[in-house]
Amino acid sequence: MTTSGQDWDTAGPERLYVITGGRSQSGEQAALDLVTLIVTREESQLGMQPELAAILRICRSPLSVAEISAHLALPASVVGVLLNDLLADGRVEARAPAAKLPDIALIEAVIDGLQKL
């Protein structure tokens, strides 16, 4: 007995191609940063692509793009393509990382936080 999952390398290019519908992140949409925080706005629907449903499930509390990539075991750029779909549908919210330095208030906040460790 074989399951379909054994017919291909789970991390191979074929799987990634199917998941993204052959699209890559380089397009009109801006690439999401590894530390952009993603939060679910609308729960998944029946019949939704499993990877999209998984993102909506794990992002009920905020998670970075890097963490989503780790939990889904998918490359960050593939996760980026999926997130752009969810963002376009308004199913998730993206919280952009802090803007470029120098920002003394931000630096102070990081120092304060580290000192409490």
Binding site: L101, I107, E108, G113
Partner: protein, 206 residues
């Protein structure tokens, strides 16, 4: 709950969930040669068990032995370990430990972009690895500090000896750390942040 064995999705543990108020993330990149202790440092300060993200890199096969004369591209999957520190209810710090093959560090799309800065973890027994990465950080204008992970059997260099060996400007901080110790790793990060603060203050008064 029955989970299919083919389903690779893992869920964040309940205690690892960020508060819903988490609104802004920042990142610091830990660079250094293979085996120097990058993941050790990340693990010692991270509030979550380090996770691994991956990316597929394509690079032209220019430096690959190629006698055919045909332009080749090689795809390589590069994995990177990272950890997380919640600094307060809104602010989250991510620490990325770069993978061993340094030619990939700067190919990783957006890894250094927007990063607060970098920690160069140095093994004094293999300074040449640090030399190359320092040059690249300077080129990319990523501020960095040097942290010497004090392996018990490493030759103890004086900071100034190391500074001249690595050809570093005098303002770049050099600290000795024990990456296994949470407090020591935290102090390295604080050193980087204080350095950023003093640089920012200097540029403001100019």
């Amino acid at each position: 709950m029955v989970s299919r064995s083919s389903d690779p999705v893992t869920e964040p543990r309940r205690e690892d969930q960020l508060p819903s108020t988490a609104s802004t993330a920042v990142k610091i990149v830990i660079v250094g040669g293979f085996g120097v202790g990058k993941t050790t440092l990340v693990r010692s300060v991270s509030e979550i068990r380090p996770l691994t993200t991956e990316e597929t890199m394509t690079e032209a096969g220019a430096d690959v032995d190629d006698v055919s004369g045909i332009e080749r591209k090689t795809a390589t999957t590069v994995a990177m370990d990272f950890g997380r520190i919640s600094l307060n209810e809104e602010l989250v710090l991510y620490l990325f430990g770069t993978p061993g093959q340094q030619r990939f560090w700067f190919l990783w799309n957006g890894l250094f972009e927007g990063a607060l800065g970098a920690v160069v973890l140095v093994d004094t027994r293999r300074l040449e690895v640090s030399f190359d990465v320092i040059g690249r950080l300077e080129e990319a204008e990523v501020p960095f500090v040097i942290a010497v992970n004090a392996f018990p059997d490493a030759t103890s260099y004086l900071a100034e000896e190391l500074r001249s060996a690595l050809d570093l400007p005098e303002q770049v901080p050099i600290v000795v750390c024990d990456a296994r110790q949470r407090a020591s790793s935290r102090d390295v990060l604080i050193t980087l942040m204080r350095y950023l603060r003093s640089s920012a203050q200097t540029s403001e008064t100019l």
